[in-house]
Symmetry: C2
Subunit: 413 residues, 2 copies
């Protein structure tokens, strides 16, 4: 049961001029489900992306990076069922073949196509099924295909994930629409996080590349379900330039700030949707860490809490087991050695609005019933003040339930 999440309605995902999407049932791993998506971009579109840092990065990720470096992208092709990761040279060849097949259909170069795969790792990609399915995707291409595409890229997701915003753009209407998938690993594994956001804004390539990094840092790089970073994680930002605005080329301009806010809002919604739909999740937890010397150490503390199985199971039980949270904070130096000298007597910890710990121990004002009260709702905020600097950082995660074990012990069967 996703936590406070509903699927987008078809009407809520606004078309982005210059982007058309089409899906089909290619039978890649299972029959009777749409598992192949083609996204066609108008000529002149600009694309930037951020990708998994897993050393075993999947073949399509390697191909994406290469093609992004070489220039003007005209299409994205996305399959579910098989991740094409841990597949060596044959996997690279399969990804290149699928790009070539798209290029032949659309009349562009293979290097202008970005491939994405998600599903089981170390299984060979049945690229001939992709080749066979692509004409149907092409025939289905339409500007309002976001809703269907949001469904076609799902794996263990229980709900489709999409979001959309319209902004004034200094007098020119600009649209931002995106879809994402993922449930099992943000920092995910088999479920893989994929995020695709498009806007019709005109923006310089240099600034688009900066924007994708900045947005990722405030959205997809704030979430974790189980701490396992996928081999396939990808977040791609597309700007078709069709809105008619003056090209945004100055990072200090109001136009950039407005666009960044809109893209960040869409990406945060998509990213949080992945956590809300996290495998077995019954709680959505925001961990807001302030008072750090750096943002990195704030995030290190956030991830230490978010990854502790003992903290996550306590949240599943709605148990204000404060010691487990303190223990996780005390271990965070493993994520960032700068925290080795953390002075725990300066640390303050809140559950919701309740101060639960200060001076290295339980807060004098803390009552167990207050802790129990704030642990009940499906959405909980943990706040930490490290008391050693001006920086802050946020992490979103979910709890750890019987169903997480069930889903992941059963997944391949």
């Amino acid at each position: 049961m996703p936590v406070n999440l509903s699927a987008p309605t078809p009407d809520s995902l606004h078309p982005v001029p210059g982007v058309r999407l089409g899906c089909t049932e290619a039978g890649i791993r299972k029959a009777n489900r749409r598992d192949l998506t083609l996204i066609e971009l108008a000529p002149g579109s600009r694309v930037a992306g951020v990708f998994t840092q897993n050393r075993f990065c999947a073949a399509p990720v390697q191909v994406c990076k290469k093609h992004l470096a070489s220039g003007s992208i005209r299409a994205l092709v996305i399959n579910t069922g098989v991740a094409n990761a841990g597949t060596g040279e044959p996997g690279l060849a399969a990804s290149n073949t699928s790009c070539a097949a798209v290029a032949k259909l659309l009349g562009c170069d293979a290097a202008q196509v970005l491939p994405f795969s998600t599903g089981v790792i170390m299984e060979p990609l049945p690229v001939e099924r992709i080749e066979a399915g692509l004409p149907a995707c092409q025939a289905a291409l339409k500007a309002d295909g976001w809703f269907e595409a949001a469904h076609a890229i799902m794996t263990t997701d229980t709900l489709a994930k999409g979001a959309s915003r319209k902004i004034g753009g200094g007098g020119t209407a600009i649209t931002v629409t995106g879809i994402s998938k993922g449930a099992g690993m943000i920092k995910p594994n088999m479920a893989t996080m994929l995020g695709f956001v498009a806007t019709d804004a005109a923006i310089s390539q240099a600034l688009l590349e900066r924007l994708v990094e900045e947005v990722a840092d405030e959205s997809f790089n704030c979430i974790t379900v189980d701490g396992d970073t996928s081999t396939n994680d990808s977040f791609v930002l597309i700007a078709t330039g069709r809105a008619g605005n003056v090209e945004i080329a100055d990072a200090g301009s109001p136009a950039y700030a407005e666009l960044r806010a809109a893209v960040t809002a869409v990406a945060q919604r998509l990213a949080q949707a992945i956590v809300r739909d996290g495998e077995g999740a019954t709680k959505f937890i925001e961990i807001a860490v302030a008072g750090g010397a750096t943002k990195a150490e704030c995030k290190a503390v956030g991830y230490a809490i978010a990854h502790s199985p003992l903290v996550k199971t306590a949240f599943f039980a709605s148990d204000p087991n404060l010691g487990r949270i303190l223990g996780a904070i005390g271990n965070a130096w493993g994520n960032d050695p700068a925290l080795r000298d953390l002075d725990v007597t300066a640390v303050k910890l809140w559950l919701g609005d309740v101060l639960v710990s200060e001076n290295g121990g339980r807060a004098a004002s803390y009552k167990e019933e207050d802790g129990a009260r704030v642990m009940e709702p499906a959405e909980i905020t943990i706040r930490v003040d490290l008391g050693r600097g001006p920086a802050q950082g946020k992490v979103w995660t979910c709890d750890f339930s019987y169903d997480y074990v069930k889903i992941n012990a059963d997944y391949r069967s």
Copy 2:
């Protein structure tokens, strides 16, 4: 159900001359269970220890470190039920009070007493119950008290943990006996890992301090249940010097090598017992990593595999989900940045005796039924060759089951 583990028999834990142990029911948190243990050491005994690196280290750990620095230790006092961690200044005062109470009974200084606590974090230690219980512990002191003490230090452990060895000592018989507890956090949290090993060998203080580090590195520092390092983890090595051997003072001597082997064997057995009794464990998994540039990076890979919830749930399901293991290896640079340049095409991976991955993908010789066969037994070895150096390292862990969630979601109720 512990994995291939049985409790020690009373006869199997040989007395160590110079050490007496006594337990009682002090009612610290629950009635009708022995929860307080006193270990008395003969004058002239030497003691060395290694402790948790959690920044929120418990009050007794802080006191232990201080007292070890100040000199000749005469007693250890261990309570279960309450960890006296995250308790601030009052916690320190409580630990000091319990040391003073022991000192008064035994006629020594409070600084000659080491305190240990394990149990719930952030609850105040009812030190008056320790004071009240200590005379009964003193009355119960006996040389063959190891078996009872092994039981009295248990928390969520399902079986007592003890091991013993006798060695020749170059003509002089030397005994090594130890007990441990822990089930939920090695790298544990509430369950806390405690290990106490004593020998009657005579060994210099400097070499004893080296020995405790070397042994910990090959035993307690190789294990993980859930990656959560406790606030209270402690491993203490005692040498009473009563065996009559020539004092061991040379790290290059055969006598040191023989003693080190015996202490390591006892400590490994105690450490592995904690994993075998890991909360909800159904499998015991050895992860042997070779071919690393450093031992640290081998252990980083081992811990990345051991901490992946996706790997652990796959082992629970006896599912040879190879991609999850490769994914964890690819993420190990998060534990050791030196692995950022890991060449995954040089990595080889075995499950048991089956080569499952090489050249960045599935091994050509791999058959799914071979993988399924080696995943069935309760003890499984994962071998990784990083193909980039001469170093090796080992990690022992267990799987992740429904019962882990159940135990940790229910713990405080």
